[in-house]
Subunit: 148 residues, 2 copies
């Protein structure tokens, strides 16, 4: 009956099977793959669902075209963007849809799985933006202490 108990039991079960602390565990490799700046930003872009960027609300998937993503993620190279998108597609986090127009139109959209990761990842981006000042202050302090 309890979906809460079910969820907790399921999580516990999977945590017994997979442990990212172990070098050989597949989840360690997965953690490595998703611990990536471009992954975080692609997910943030495709999941941001327009202006309501409230971090406490899971956004709708926002389909975006390749060139839109390239523009949004300033500084990304074609290579890294394509590579990141291919990885995420292979892992089932997003779909790649090709419309046979001329020239061709390619759209990327988060799957439910991708949306679930987005729910986690966007907090990372938000955290970085929210605590940048604090971190910067610590760096100044730390560097000053070392210099003495």
């Amino acid at each position: 009956m309890g979906t809460t108990e079910d969820k907790l039991a399921e999580r516990a079960r999977q945590r017994r099977e997979y442990d990212a602390f172990l070098a050989q565990c597949p989840s360690r490799q997965l953690l490595d793959r998703i611990s990536d700046k471009w992954v975080a930003l692609v997910l943030a872009a495709l999941g941001s669902g327009g202006p309501h960027a409230d971090p406490d609300v899971v956004g709708e998937p926002t389909p975006m075209r390749y060139s839109e993503l390239a523009r949004r993620l300033s500084g990304v190279s074609q290579k890294m963007l394509t590579q990141t998108l291919r990885h995420l597609e292979r892992d089932g986090l997003l779909t790649r849809t090709v419309e046979p127009t001329v020239p061709v139109t390619v759209t990327y959209e988060l799957t439910d799985l991708g949306l679930s990761l987005h729910g986690v990842m966007r907090h990372l981006k938000t955290w970085a933006e929210a605590h940048m000042d604090e971190v910067a202050a610590h760096r100044v302090e730390h560097d000053a202490a070392v210099a003495v």
Copy 2:
């Protein structure tokens, strides 16, 4: 009066100042730094507060010694562990305490700032462990489709 409104307003303000989508924004560099496997695992270790690994409960900081961390994060090299710890210390996410015993005893402990990032990061590790099966299935499917 509402702390909720205050928090939201504060977040919105900071999001106007910092935008990790911009290559030049300091928060982009911060995002890059924290989007790291070893950062995720060090935080997970120092914040896991013993056996109650329930991802919905923020753990107490768990002080750990260098060698404990090295054992916990299987596969980490001395270089990467030390480097990661130094970065996190400089950014104010953890403290490094040296007890002048013989031989010396060094303890690492999350600060409040580090604990707040841990609150976000541990979901990443949990997600990787919880969705590994699904991702693996997608890969098989995807690779099969490509092979045809």
